[in-house]
């Protein structure tokens, strides 16, 4: 260990807080280096000299003044019990508001479109079930098949009368 290295470990060595390995290295160096040994001895004496500084006692009124200052501090309000942490209360309120907002949003049916459509068709079938089950009605439907799809439907008798009146 060099003198520069000892300088960092000398104080922990003198106050007996250095670990055993460091202590051993410092002791080896001090045994070999007279300058560091002399310095260590002076630091030991300095330690004793620094103890000469007397302890100052706080004044007699210290505690009383401290209690008076504490008593002046604003006391917590009773309703604080319900809201122990204002930040927590705010975050809970925000979470509730967001939940309500999300719940009231119109549902996105993009994924369920096919299902909803088939449900609608099923509903129409059920709605017209009595008609579809009526054999007489279904048998007359065959006549409609003969009508070409692109022909104009025949005008109603009322519409024919209206047209004649307009021409007159």
């Amino acid at each position: 260990m060099k003198c520069e290295d000892v300088s960092k470990e000398l104080i922990p060595y003198l106050d007996r807080r250095a670990n055993s390995a460091d202590r051993h290295e410092v002791e080896e160096h001090l045994a070999a280096c007279l300058a560091c040994h002399a310095r260590a001895e002076e630091l030991r004496k300095l330690w004793v000299v620094l103890d000469e500084v007397p302890i100052v006692e706080p004044s007699l009124g210290f505690d009383a003044r401290m209690r008076a200052r504490i008593a002046e501090e604003p006391q917590p309000r009773w309703f604080r019990w319900f809201v122990p942490q204002p930040r927590l209360a705010l975050s809970m309120a925000l979470l509730l508001a967001v939940s309500v907002w999300v719940a009231r949003l119109p549902q996105d049916n993009s994924g369920l479109a096919g299902t909803a459509q088939s449900e609608h068709e099923q509903f129409q079938v059920i709605k017209n079930l009595d008609v579809l089950e009526n054999y007489d009605v279904l048998s007359k439907f065959d006549a409609l098949d003969e009508v070409p799809a692109d022909e104009q439907p025949a005008p109603q008798p009322d519409q024919q009368n209206d047209q004649q009146q307009q021409q007159e």
Binding site: K8, D15, W47, E52, V53, I70
Partner: protein, 196 residues
């Protein structure tokens, strides 16, 4: 401190009893004025009381307490220094130009100090002349007997840096307090011995 956090005022009184003397002493050695030290100690306790709900047991209570005290003391020292600078600037200039500049020898100045003040006051003066960080480190290490880790947390530095800081501080004190560490009579004896 956890009882204080839970709202037990009696526990706060116990903290006050336990730490008021070391705290006042630390602050007195920092600011070198009893009234200011007591005012600062009250401010420290008041801040602890106000922040009791935010206290985290992960941090040692003394680390927290002395960190607040260190910050307040350093602010006070800086404010006082600025105030003294204002006063000296406003004061009437002395006969600096006319009077010959006399720089007494270092030994002489130290001896004069020792005559004027008692030893304890002289030691306090030398400690308070240390740079701020070194002074805090010495006070916490020598007088509060804190471990290196705790002092490093208060000063916001590594333990390795703290050891170097302490060595520099004690070296300065060893030199400045040489008349007390190695009294002149003994040194004179040594010198005579060397001459022989």
């Amino acid at each position: 401190m956890l009882d204080v956090k839970a709202g037990d005022d009696e526990s706060f009184n116990l903290l006050l009893q336990k730490y008021r003397t070391p705290l006042v002493n630390f602050l007195y050695r920092m600011v070198r004025d009893t009234a200011t030290a007591e005012d600062l100690a009250q401010e420290v306790f008041l801040r602890v009381y106000r922040a009791r709900k935010q206290y985290s047991p992960s941090a040692k209570f003394t680390t927290w307490l002395f960190r607040i005290a260190t910050n307040l003391a350093l602010n006070s020292v800086r404010d006082n220094r600025h105030h003294q600078m204002d006063v000296s600037l406003d004061a009437a200039p002395a006969d600096e130009d006319t009077a010959p500049l006399q720089l007494p020898a270092r030994e002489m100045r130290i001896d004069e100090h020792m005559v004027e003040r008692d030893r304890a006051d002289f030691i306090r003066g030398v400690i308070s002349a240390l740079p701020e960080k070194q002074r805090v480190a010495v006070l916490l290490h020598k007088y509060e007997e804190m471990d290196y880790g705790e002092i490093a947390r208060i000063l916001d530095c590594s333990e390795s840096a703290l050891k170097s800081l302490l060595f520099r501080a004690y070296e300065t004190l060893r030199v400045q307090l040489a008349p007390l560490v190695s009294p002149p009579a003994r040194r004179a004896g040594k010198e005579a011995h060397h001459e022989m």
